[in-house]
């Protein structure tokens, strides 16, 4: 068991096919502090293995900005995860 001080519970918003595959619009993952987007995605796929097939194309936004996979997820961030966009 990790020190609870050093973990955070994160709710990741899912959209479009990611939401349909996961079966939920709000995916709960538990991260250690200072973990990256890449590590968050790994946790997500462990909890929602249906997302494995689209993992490589998933985009991640932190506080309404696209972020690369090495970005460290800050505490209390709003995190969203979704496939390539197709509006318009």
């Amino acid at each position: 068991m990790t020190d609870p001080e050093l973990t955070m519970n994160l709710t990741v918003k899912l959209f479009a096919r990611a939401r349909d595959l996961a079966g939920t619009s709000h995916a709960d993952v538990t991260l250690s502090n200072q973990q990256t987007v890449e590590e968050m995605l790994s946790q997500l796929v462990i909890h929602y293995p249906q997302l494995a097939s689209i993992r490589e194309s998933l985009l991640v936004a932190v506080n309404n900005e696209y972020v690369p996979s090495e970005t460290v997820i800050p505490a209390n961030a709003e995190v969203a995860c979704f496939p390539p966009v197709s509006g318009g």
């Binding site: 918003k13 959209f15 689209i54 936004a61 969203a80 496939p83 966009v85 197709s86 318009g88």
Partner: protein
């Protein structure tokens, strides 16, 4: 400069009127409409999903960028979400400027960038009853039988 998501039919006449001004010599309006045929696949309807807060943030960024690139006078983007029937307007982009060239450039920039940056997704509902999210760049297209909402 105004951006908007709506689940009601887009009144593009109102969108266009809202960018008009006697300082403008040119207005360009772009409408995206629900197209029946994509190659030989027949669409019966579309469903749009959006991440509203971020979609608004990104659309606001786009009109701000357009205003830095070209001397536009006003720009409005309105995007529909939810269920759309054939021929309906899914997005309206209107730009006004003193001269026509920059109105065309800015209008094209706004819709081009909207399609790559703004978190909105469409699901095609095909005539065979299947439906499919459109996610450009995904290796394989995953067809599903999920009924359209």
């Amino acid at each position: 400069m105004t951006v908007r998501l709506t689940d009601k039919p887009i009144d593009y006449h109102l969108v266009t009127e809202s960018v008009r001004t006697p300082r403008a010599g040119a207005v360009v309006l772009f409408l995206g409409t629900v197209r029946e045929f994509t190659d030989d696949q027949q669409t019966t309807a579309l469903d749009y999903d959006a991440y509203p807060e971020m979609a608004i943030t990104k659309m606001e960024e786009l009109v701000a960028e357009a205003g830095e690139k070209w001397p536009i006078l006003n720009a409005v983007i309105e995007h529909r979400v939810g269920h759309l029937e054939l021929g309906e307007v899914c997005v309206a982009v209107a730009v006004s400027s003193p001269h026509r060239k920059e109105a065309f450039h800015a209008g094209q920039f706004l819709i081009d960038e909207l399609k790559v940056r703004v978190p909105i997704w469409k699901k095609e509902n095909w005539i065979d009853g299947q439906s499919e999210w459109v996610h450009p760049g995904e290796e394989e297209s995953v067809r599903s039988n999920t009924p359209s909402s």
